[in-house]
Symmetry: C2
Subunit: 516 residues, 2 copies
């Protein structure tokens, strides 16, 4: 895309046509400046097929706010809209409406609350709430979902990979399999969710992080094509990077050629006072090769070198590799724990595309309209009870049990203070027969989750650092029950409604279903 096209395609017209059609309708009916509230939430955790998530990690908010700060309807944008025609050949968007768009300051009139990036989040509790003029709250939908759906999906996958990798470093390698520049969003979300480093040079630079990566098969191929050997390629690498020597050993034959050659080079480095870093395995039976590579490296006196594994890894494959090493290492005469401790996982395609479930179905639903000094709650009917929305202005609370574990999220009306009540009633969101009573004094903590993030055209509070977002994720994942963290068939974490919200929902349902 050419730069002048990019300005159009990545500005405020990065939206769906119906948002603008509706905005003009609101404008024509005098509703465009009426205050509305929308909730953003997702309905279920990713289900990867063989395995499923028991929680999500939210991400994408700061980039959304950056975009909101930057965009407004420019002359170019308005000119594009003015060219649109209706079926009768007339101008689809009227000049008065276009003048309104041009005169307003983008998303400055909106207020956003959100659960901060890096936090663990659950289905059906609002992750983001948007309040403000109906027209702009509507136009924001597409970009908000685009940013938060994808980054949350990837931060979630990364958190699972982080969890199964225990203390082992996780490197993100997915740039070549992402969507155009959107791959950078995947890298960022992966770093929030659990990847320690990435191969993505540009994005690392913007975060002050060291990008990771050594060499590809191409290096060895170049040397072979020129009549040299794999050993020559390794020597050349060690010469240029004597203190960062990590060699990819599977270009020719991993155990027959790559390992012996790497060890020769490591010995030369050691003789010169350098400390070799390790090897990378990118094909074949990674568990088997890791065991035998470890033994060969040990035997040669390099027990501290790392072994980087890559090639279509994800949380399930890593788990399988660990299990296989656990089962087979002793047979081969090796120490499984020592091998597992030297592993590094390089995760690319399956992380950046969220293998098994390539999208998060986050939605953005109207929950209230303000009219004549009063909020009028809105609900969206659906064919199944589970798809009904929760109406009204709300806050989400997290309840920690006596051990300090997160035991449920409670969605309440905005004015409620569940943290000040001694008895809490947790209603199932759709099943009238299910409820749970909790006694406040037996709980460790009740914490509100949504905080102000955008007001009057500006973000509220400082931009969080990567480390702060990671800290939130670590703390929140740590506070989950181990059953919820389980890779396969996780426990269902409860997201409940307060009694007043439950009653409001029933009342609206009755009214709507009665008064069709």
């Amino acid at each position: 895309m050419r730069p002048e096209q990019r300005r159009i395609a990545e500005g405020i017209l990065f939206t769906d046509q119906y948002q603008l059609s509706m905005a003009q309708l609101y404008f024509r009916h005098g509703l465009h400046e009426q205050t509305a509230q929308f909730d953003h939430f997702f309905r279920r955790n990713p289900d990867y097929g063989m395995h499923a998530a028991g929680y999500c990690v939210t991400a994408g908010l700061e980039w959304l706010l950056d975009w909101m700060e930057m965009v407004r309807f420019t002359d170019d944008d308005v000119a594009q809209l003015r060219m649109q025609r209706d079926r009768a050949g007339g101008q689809l968007f009227g000049d008065d409406f276009l003048a309104y768009l041009r005169a307003t300051d983008g998303f400055a009139g909106l207020s956003l609350r959100a659960i901060p990036e890096g936090r663990v989040v659950h289905p059906n509790a609002p992750l983001t709430t948007v309040r403000g003029p109906l027209a702009y709250a509507q136009i924001l939908e597409t970009a908000l979902l685009n940013q938060l759906n994808y980054q949350t999906l990837i931060a979630t996958k990364a958190a699972r990979i982080r969890d199964v990798s225990h203390a082992a470093p996780v490197l993100e390698f997915g740039l070549r399999r992402g969507q155009d520049r959107g791959a950078n969003a995947g890298t960022r979300a992966a770093l929030i969710g659990g990847a320690d480093f990435t191969s993505n040079v540009g994005l690392s630079s913007t975060l002050g992080l060291a990008p990771k990566g050594t060499h590809a098969h191409a290096l060895v191929q170049v040397f072979l094509a020129l009549g040299y050997s794999e050993l020559d390629a390794f020597k050349a690498y060690a010469e240029v990077y004597p203190d960062d020597c990590l060699l990819l050993v599977d270009t020719v034959d991993t155990l027959g050629s790559g390992l012996p050659n790497a060890i020769k080079v490591f010995e030369q480095l050691r003789a010169k006072g350098h400390r070799p870093v390790g090897i990378r395995l990118d094909s074949g039976d990674l568990a088997y090769l890791a065991i035998h590579a470890a033994m060969m490296l040990d035997q040669a006196g390099f027990p501290d070198t790392t072994i980087v594994l890559s090639s279509d890894l994800d949380e399930l494959v890593i788990w399988q590799i660990q299990t296989q090493i656990g089962a087979e290492a002793a047979h081969a005469g090796a120490d499984a724990d020592a091998i597992l401790k030297r592993l590094v996982y390089g995760v690319g395609t399956r992380l950046v595309t969220s293998h098994g479930e390539g999208s998060l179905g986050g939605v953005y639903k109207l929950v209230a309209m303000h009219e004549r000094d009063e909020w009028r709650p809105a609900i969206k009917l659906a064919d199944t009870a589970a798809k009904l929305t929760n109406p009204g202005l709300k806050q989400a609370w997290r309840i920690y049990d006596g051990r300090g574990r997160a035991t449920a999220d409670l969605v309440a009306l905005e004015h409620e203070r569940p943290d000040e009540q001694e008895q809490l009633c947790l209603r199932h969101p759709s099943d009238a027969g299910l409820q749970r009573q909790l006694t406040r004094s037996r709980l460790a903590r009740i914490e509100p989750l949504l905080v102000d993030v955008w007001r009057e055209g500006q973000r509220v509070g400082p931009r969080p650092t990567l480390e702060q977002m990671r800290e939130r994720r670590r703390n929140d994942v740590e506070a989950l029950d181990s059953g919820v963290r389980r890779l396969v068939n996780p426990h269902i974490y409860h997201v409940s409604l307060t009694q007043p919200l439950w009653e409001l929902k029933q009342e609206l349902l009755g009214r709507l279903r009665g008064g069709r």
Copy 2:
């Protein structure tokens, strides 16, 4: 991401660290300006699980060339690289190497050939070849794969959806489920591959295409929340868009409320001389609802209105809907063909994420190095014969049989002219026992596929229009055997090697495996 960060993350540092590590190594060893040739290809068609592709449609090239035209190592980029440290605390990239990067004009030294966008392509034949200074050819890998992998994946999915939809319009709705601004690449690829229009306003504008979309559930919800009815919302819509009235009828109750209300509004429009466009169904049993909606619309005298279907559609779901309508329409007293003819398919999430197979494994492999006036072919060994690369400088040819059907792609060495040979020998790429003989005079046509697209820092020839790329796709899909186009279990299209290429491959294999 802030704009100053975006300049870093989307410029020439949009690459993997190892490309730069290798580039510096080549620089240190005096290899950086030596001419190399890399091939880009993919190894297998997407397999979506329940169904699989029998071919791909290539896309992404023009955007890659736009990026190549724009980027080079700036002072800012070099400053970022200068900050990187090795493990001993020294500067990872030397000042001499950084000066070289800064002094060179980006990708100006490279030459690219490619199969033009929109064309049908097959596994293991080169889609793109890159020739030029080793350092820059290496650095290009990541961005090239990023652009071509994703857009080809989506153009392929769109072509399948196009094929199963026959003459029905296909609308792309996936912006909210793509990866940040990368979603625009998905929209573009979908339009090349088979979507007629998109809801994406910005991208449509850059292509001079009318974006499509009317209203969401939110419109009806706003009216309900304010004490009005679904009918009021529809009337409001018809008032603003009398000639573009397409109503979403499933917010409350599709057949019980949405359809009757839509029909009332349509009658009012008709009375005023307008022609209502149709309805959209976004939930429930779409086939059942389409049949009954069609009957209600017919009965009310609106047989020409369209019915837009959306909600997690993909090629398999569309096929199922068509089958169900075919089986059930007559029972309900309706004409299945007439219903199918008024359908429009809105495809979002499952198109932009390529549901079932979220990535295309395109790779970029060294195939030759130029030294002392001679090309030295390179090969990449692999644990399976199917993963071996094809060495040397090559051209891909498409062979059309007597009926004008594409019958095989033939990968040849660059100097070969299979179009001038009377007898063609097609060798299986890995199985020595398999070959096919073709007689030139019995064939309709033999066509070279790779054309020059980039030379000396500039694209070769004019930028193709969207319509030209679509035309290529239509012609190429049309020329495929119906078995190859089949949604489920497609025929395997043959990609063969010429005898000289086969011999070169065997020779290199023997040399490498012998001389490890």
